[in-house]
Amino acid sequence: MRTGMWRAGLALLAWLAVLATAPGARAFELNGFGDITATDSEANNNAPSNNGVALGQLAFYLAEQLSDHLDVLAEYVIESPGEGFVVDLERLQVGYAFNNNHKLRAGRFHNLLGYWNLAYHHGAHLQTTIGRPFFLEFEDENGVIPVHMVGLWWDSRLNTSAGRVSLGVMAGNGASINGDPTAVAVGTVNTTELNPDSAGDSDNDKAVSARLAFNPAAVPGLGIGISGQFGTVNITNIDTDADGTVNAADQVDQTIAVLDLEYITDALEVLGEYYAWMNDSSQVASFDDSSAYYVQAGYQFAHKVTPYARYESLEAKANDPYFIAVGMTMPGLDRQKNITTVGVRYDLHYRAALKFEVRAVDDDMDGSYNEAGVQWSFSF
């Protein structure tokens, strides 16, 4: 299966190459990101990525203006889930720009939640650090937010003398989490991933996300955003109420609220985001809300050397059925996980950088340990 997907990916790239070089072909640029990352971790969870060199995600994306108002963007990612390679269609969107300020898109997008998810996503080279904050990981890498959405995306902006106001609204399939009762033992950490339901909605409740952002004219580089998502997460075959038996179905009415703040100049980068999850379960009567945040700062010297630091923290409340279902905690455990990162990035070129960092992890579930990482990231 994976070999087949790998071949399909190569066939797609070959087709694109032929298309681009054919006589009279429309001009478009095939761009991409990639990285090679080496990690040395003291974590005691037997993950193959703990020690050794890993190929990061190889992302290909292309954008094309089809007509004066129509454009299309496609993005494929080739990645290794640990064995072999898979090809994922990450984004496919067609857009219609009504004018400078209003645009409607349809397809599969990066969700509007927060700043990081839209700004960097698969572009490891674009972000200063080696990786994303752990609670913003992709759905298939133990992520706890739906970083993708399939549906419609309305984008508007308003330029005023005080600054720019941007508003984006997405509506699409709600996410689901489908456990395998034959593979997952009751009372253990679930390993099933969050599914953004790209091939169709598993329930009839759609999700809506929105982000309102303001960039004041008086302080170039400063941005503040509030965003959120409302939807129902359909959870099947997971012991979300911790009674020792698998629940055939649990519906979690979910609200995610996000506040983000960023200040980015030629040299200075300061980022911060706060996430709060308010989940209402059909199976679990009462539990506290879970939350997470990160703050990150870096300063670039001589356009090349950027020392940086980040602190990230997640508090997944015991008995929160959503966090049990995504495997971020287990029944009875108020899980707190904190990571402190210090590193330095050296830009070899505007398209390539070396990053060196150390991380101190303090986790109620996996214990405390240290990690070191080196990454060579690039774009093309």
């Binding site: 761009n31 203006q65 454009d71 400078n100 839209l118 356009h303 505007y350 398209r351 774009s379």
Partner: protein, 155 residues
């Protein structure tokens, strides 16, 4: 009380040479920057004049339409002197920062960066035949052509 100046003849001569050298250097620098940049648009474009801020927004992709007309900015291949001059004087960024900006923008929002051509003649020809075309050349390269219209001069 003001003290008289007691420079030695050798020191005074060295000082005069220093001043003269500096003046020549500064004059030379000024001459090199004296060549004006001229921003041109397709003759049918629905604009009469553009401000440097408006031109900057066009080449950053922030402004993409004049009413219903799609704006098509035309730039130069990497490393062209006139391109770097334009980025310095109008967009206020280096070439690498500009290219990084477009990598991020396309990845985040889609869209296409300014087209790239090799010479001023190609810029004028492309702008002239492209509805919504916008480009820039040095003033000495402008020549007479009915297909493009000057909308801004940048000293």
């Amino acid at each position: 009380m003001k003290r008289p100046c007691h420079k030695t003849p050798v020191a005074a001569q060295a000082f005069r040479w220093l001043v003269l050298t500096l003046a020549l250097f500064l004059t030379g620098t000024g001459l090199a920057r004296a060549e004006e940049l001229v921003v041109v648009v397709n003759a049918g474009a629905p604009v009469q004049n553009l401000t440097p801020k408006q031109v900057k927004e066009i080449f950053l992709g922030e402004t993409a339409y004049w009413g219903d007309v799609k704006i098509v900015p035309i730039g130069y291949v990497d490393g062209a002197t006139v391109q770097n001059d334009f980025l310095d004087r109008v967009v206020h960024v280096t070439e690498n920062v500009y290219k990084t900006y477009w990598i991020k923008r396309i990845f985040r929002e889609g869209g296409t960066p300014p087209r790239k051509v090799g010479t001023a003649a190609e810029v004028l020809a492309t702008v002239g035949r492209t509805s919504g075309g916008v480009g820039f050349v040095y003033a000495s390269q402008l020549g007479e052509t009915a297909e493009v219209r000057e909308v801004l001069r940048v000293p």
